[in-house]
């Protein structure tokens, strides 16, 4: 069985941690250079047991949240549970909806506890936990399904945004909806992760003939979504249908914003988008064309 891996990326400013399905890119800036090393050491040490802590409670974490359910024991599992509990009346949700964000939060927490950092982030496959001290900012590019930039979010310190998460048809996770991507900003990566997952599920056209679905457990027998129909292919859609699907996600995003679960969300489907909250968005750069051949 594979062990956790750690690789310092070429610039020395980023650390890649990988174990099983978890891939983290970790960055840290500090006034004193040795503090980055301390923070990276802390991240690596914390990461050693992250996956085994989670797998110990997997059956519980893969079960839908109800009021009667007891909270899990692990620190990361508890982060997941807390992030999704707020949404249990909205739709079916399991703690797994926040797993990526919760891992990012926990690893970031270990780093900020270990050393004074001006700026740090843990990017878990697009779900990002952020630490920004005063005057710092963090810029994230939102990519479309093909990898091309849809735009940039520039997050300033002091806005209370500590997590960015993206869900949708791109990436590894299964989605019950058809959104190309939904990016949510929250007070933690776990809460942003849960929100992005549920909003992306809500961007949908039930029973549309061009949307192909399969029971989740046909693709992944262990899926927490059990036999719920996850989207496997989205064929052509009319502009009206695209707008209808986006507006379904939009109303869920509004409700989450009203209840202060998210700061904002950015929904994308086929080049169309919807924005909730004040997200500091910028248009995609156009000067990054590279020619080969």
């Amino acid at each position: 069985m594979s062990a956790p891996q750690a690789v310092l990326l070429k610039d020395g400013a980023r650390l890649h941690l990988q174990h099983g399905p978890i891939d983290l890119i970790v960055g840290a800036d500090a006034a004193c250079a040795s503090d980055r090393t301390v923070a990276f050491d802390a991240a690596r040490t914390r990461f050693e047991t992250v996956l085994t802590e989670l797998t110990g409670e997997l059956p519980l974490l893969r079960t839908g949240i109800t009021k009667a359910r007891s909270a899990p024991a692990g620190v990361i599992a508890r982060r997941m549970y807390d992030a999704v509990r707020a949404h249990m009346s909205r739709s079916f949700v399991t703690p797994m909806a926040a797993v990526a964000g919760a891992v990012a939060d926990e690893v970031l927490h270990s780093m900020t506890q270990a050393a004074p950092l001006t700026r740090a982030y843990v990017n878990n496959g697009g779900d990002i936990a952020l630490h920004l001290s005063e005057g710092q900012q963090f810029t994230a590019a939102i990519a479309g399904l093909t990898g091309a930039a849809l735009g940039q979010v520039r997050i300033p310190a002091g806005a209370g945004i500590c997590g960015i998460a993206t869900s949708g048809q791109g990436g590894r996770s299964l989605s019950l909806g058809i959104a190309d991507s939904v990016t949510a900003l929250g007070t933690s990566a776990a809460s942003a992760d849960a929100a992005a997952t549920l909003i992306a599920n809500a961007v949908d056209l039930p029973h549309h003939p061009n949307v192909q679905r399969q029971p989740a457990n046909h693709l992944h027998p262990d899926s927490d979504l059990e036999d719920r129909p996850i989207v496997t292919h989205v064929g052509s859609l009319s502009q009206g249908e695209i707008a209808l699907a986006l507006d379904r996600g939009l109303s869920m995003a509004y409700a989450m914003k009203e209840e202060n679960h998210i700061h904002g969300a950015y929904l994308n489907l086929r080049g169309n988008n919807r924005l909730v909250g004040r997200i500091p968005m910028q248009s995609p750069k156009t000067d990054q064309e590279v020619a080969y051949g």
Partner: protein, 494 residues
């Protein structure tokens, strides 16, 4: 009946998640799959972290290791032939290709240079076995509303599409490029792509599968054109029927006028067909192209008949009309006014229609990757790139794509075509440029490699790259053996 046991779900033990993986599916990490009951490592192609090439330093995770346990997600295929799949690429181009592998093949020191080429200039040529009208020549083929290519032509029993190419990858809008790249990637990795043809049909194309035209899967490829069908089956009809018309958008055949009918002394019947007569018994353009009988737009075959010639036709005349796949067939007899009236099909005629269908091959989509290994990637093979081109033309170097046989076009450059079905799964990747990343291998004698200015210092024995995490696949194309001496000009020298 098949005795093949369907493999059960397997428990992946690669990490503590211990995923249950069903056959053909992947685990939660996207790195491991159940391939026919075997756990297979299939890292997504990655060229972003070409570790060694970019001087990335590995650090030990735990004390006591030196960090080399992280291999940057390399994935390579079958031994003894190492394909370029997952090999990574070298950009910029002057660095040696990721793997230059030597091995002894029947006493000859062979070297294979494997690299994943980034192809901004590439596309696919698609052959769709159908007579149905899917669009006119030059009609634009769209995916998600973006132009990705066009209808080229109709060849025997098939429609040909050309998708991709520099005009769509980089010559149009950014979205057009992205959609084109995505469609090419899916087609090359044998996934299904739904496309719409301007003023034509919606077609789902997947390599090795039947095309789905306007929602209906195509069944059979025509046995021949209408005229050829008359020629093949004339002897089986004589005695059971007076006239046979094989409806075909290209060449509709008429038994009594056709040379085959003449030789069997079939008398003239006075049945007259619309369209333009080419030679006796062969008619062009009997109707408009469509998705009805024999690739025409007609659903009622009588629509292609003109009133019969009263001097030759007779009441009670027996008429069979059938399509080029035998999937449609109808039987008529002329009434007192010489008008065809539908009657139950006599058994021998039904048998002949079934025989036509029986002789049709299943309708399949074929996808050939086509690209030019022009400027850049040749430099990863040799310091003197044009010598590689010459060496390929001189049959001293063999080009393969993911281990599959590649057809090398005559003329300048190294322009190749290869059948994606002959490659291991997920052989292709992409970069957001947009461009496809295709595996390409150059195989030659070590001495020839040295002569063309190869990176001799980079050559490593095959044993060194055959590590436990290498993905191994069985031979897919039985004809392809890139290291075999028969491929080379020196094949007859001892």
């Amino acid at each position: 009946m098949s005795d093949r046991v369907i493999p059960e779900k397997i428990r992946c033990d690669a990490c503590p998640v211990m995923c249950f993986i069903a056959d053909g599916k992947i685990g939660a990490c996207d790195r491991y799959a159940n391939h026919g009951g075997d756990l297979l490592r299939l890292d997504p192609l990655t060229i972003i972290d070409n570790a060694a090439d970019k001087g990335i330093k590995a650090v030990p995770f735990l004390q006591g290791t030196d960090g080399t346990d992280w291999d940057g997600d390399l994935l390579r295929a079958d031994t003894p032939f190492v394909t370029a799949i997952g090999a990574g690429t070298t950009y910029p181009d002057y660095k040696p290709a990721p793997f230059i592998v030597s091995q002894d093949v029947e006493g000859v020191d062979m070297v294979t240079v494997v690299t994943e080429g980034i192809f901004s200039y590439c596309g696919v040529k698609i052959k769709i076995d159908t007579d149905r009208h899917i669009g006119h020549e030059r009609a634009v083929v769209r995916v998600d509303g973006e132009a990705v290519g066009h209808v080229m032509t109709s060849e025997y029993g098939s429609k040909m599409l050309s998708l991709g190419g520099v005009e769509h990858l980089t010559g149009g809008s950014k979205k057009e490029g992205r959609v084109t790249c995505d469609a090419l990637l899916k087609l090359c990795n044998c996934d299904a792509v739904e496309m719409q043809i301007d003023d034509g049909a919606s077609v789902v194309v997947q390599a090795g599968q039947a095309p789905v035209i306007d929602g209906t899967p195509e069944q059979l490829m025509r046995v021949g054109c209408g005229s050829a069908t008359i020629g093949m089956f004339a002897a089986q009809w004589v005695g059971h029927v007076d006239e046979v018309i094989v409806v075909d958008d290209h060449i509709t055949g008429q038994l009594s006028e056709h040379q085959a009918g003449q030789q069997l002394d079939v008398p003239p019947t006075g049945i007259k067909i619309m369209g333009r007569r080419s030679t006796p018994g062969r008619y062009f353009q009997v109707a408009e192209p469509g998705t009805g009988w024999g690739g025409t737009d007609i659903e009622d075959p009588l629509a292609i008949l003109k009133p019969s010639d009263a001097k030759k036709a007779w009441p009670g005349l027996r008429l069979l009309m059938v399509s080029t796949t035998g999937e449609q067939a109808a039987y008529y007899e002329l009434d007192g006014d010489l008008t065809p009236v539908s009657k139950p099909m006599p058994a021998p005629l039904q048998a002949s229609a079934d025989r036509i269908a029986e002789n049709c091959e299943p309708s399949i989509c074929s996808v050939l990757f086509m690209g030019g290994a022009g400027g850049s990637l040749r430099a990863g093979v040799t310091e003197n790139p044009v010598r590689l081109t010459h060496s390929v033309k001189d049959s001293l170097t063999l080009v393969s794509v993911g281990g599959a046989e590649a057809y090398v076009w005559p003329g300048g450059g190294i322009t190749i075509m290869a059948d994606v079905l002959n490659m291991p799964s997920n052989a292709f990747g992409y970069v957001p440029t947009p461009a496809l990343v295709a595996p390409i291998e150059f195989t030659m004698r070590l001495s020839d490699y040295a002569a063309l200015g190869g990176h001799m210092d980079e050559v490593q024995p095959i044993e060194d790259v055959d590590r436990p995490d290498v993905r191994k696949v069985g031979q897919i194309d039985p004809k392809s053996a890139p290291s075999d001496r028969r491929n080379f000009r020196w094949k007859d020298t001892p």
